[in-house]
């Protein structure tokens, strides 16, 4: 390996993908295993795995492209060897959860929610109260947005606001309390901060 070449690089989702793809193949895993004991030339590996040199050459290129192999030239031969440091580095850093999290993006807040809302809210009215918990949660969160935070509401006012969207304000008010989206003390309702 040339001097001054940096061995540690930034690892993103693409790097991880290429790495796992490279190792997600039986022959390539075997090649790694073989090179873990000693370095070798193409024909040796081909003989060991009973594959054609062309195939081995192909696999070696894949492994080289993810930085797992070093190759030295000697006469006509190219001697492949395993970069153990790289392998260890990968196994350490590739599966760090924060890396995966940011690489994958996040749940689109609104993709599922907006679908539910568009299904249950027509022309500003809540047509039915979803029976399924996950959807009901979405509706309740949407409902509670019509309340200001840290402000006192008498029960009559709560009923009036909810009543704008659905006649059964009684059920919805109770659900909001159960979901802890509203609190009640001495018949005074608040939306917590």
């Amino acid at each position: 390996m040339q001097n001054g070449k940096v061995d540690i690089e930034e690892i993103g989702l693409d790097q991880a993908l290429d790495f796992f793809k490279a190792l997600g193949n039986l022959q390539r895993l075997k090649i790694i295993g073989l090179l873990a004991s000693r370095s070798a030339v193409v024909e040796e590996i081909a003989a060991a795995l009973e594959l054609s040199p062309a195939t081995i050459s192909h696999h070696l290129r894949v492994l080289r492209q993810v930085g797992l192999l070093d190759v030295d030239s000697d006469q006509q031969y190219r001697i492949y060897s395993l970069r153990e440091r790289r392998l260890k580095q990968m196994s350490r850093e590739l599966l760090r959860l924060d890396t995966l999290r940011e690489g994958a993006g996040a749940f689109p807040e609104g993709a599922f929610e907006s679908k539910v809302l568009s299904n249950f809210v027509k022309r500003g009215k809540l047509v039915t109260i979803p029976a399924q918990r996950k959807k009901r949660e979405v509706i309740l969160k949407w409902l509670v947005e019509h309340f200001k935070r840290e402000q006192d509401y008498p029960e009559s006012e709560v009923n009036r606001i909810i009543g704008r969207f659905h006649e059964d304000f009684c059920t919805l008010r109770r659900e909001l309390i159960m979901a802890r989206l509203l609190t009640r003390e001495r018949n005074i309702y608040r939306r917590p901060a």
Copy 2:
């Protein structure tokens, strides 16, 4: 997870292969990333990745089969979550070199060598001395097998033994010394232990 079930299992080459195959796919990597932030149901993931629920279900099965996911039932839903311990365990143990070494088998001592020998040795005679270093090494190792270890040989005896296989015993004798397969002190030759 059920009580008493062992979380740590033996890891072989097949396990490693399935694991890397499972992660060697962009959508599945993204799913891991999503579930690293919070657990979710199939349709949420489908919405996040803009794929059909059927496709997500397929990917989730693959990830479940390598033990990366937990699934809990709630109402009609199945809530998938990431088994972080398993992920960490895999990243620690999967790429241990000794595991890979034994899983891959070793170089078949003789596959490459026997090919060289059959090419250069005809009816017990060495037809030519291979010019290429690797093949010459094979021939030299084969030659030195005709010497007993830890035994003194005068030069005339060395020449006689080598001469049984090739007329140019002079070159071969020198090569054997250079390859340290024989040693020479005061014109006495030995094959080291």
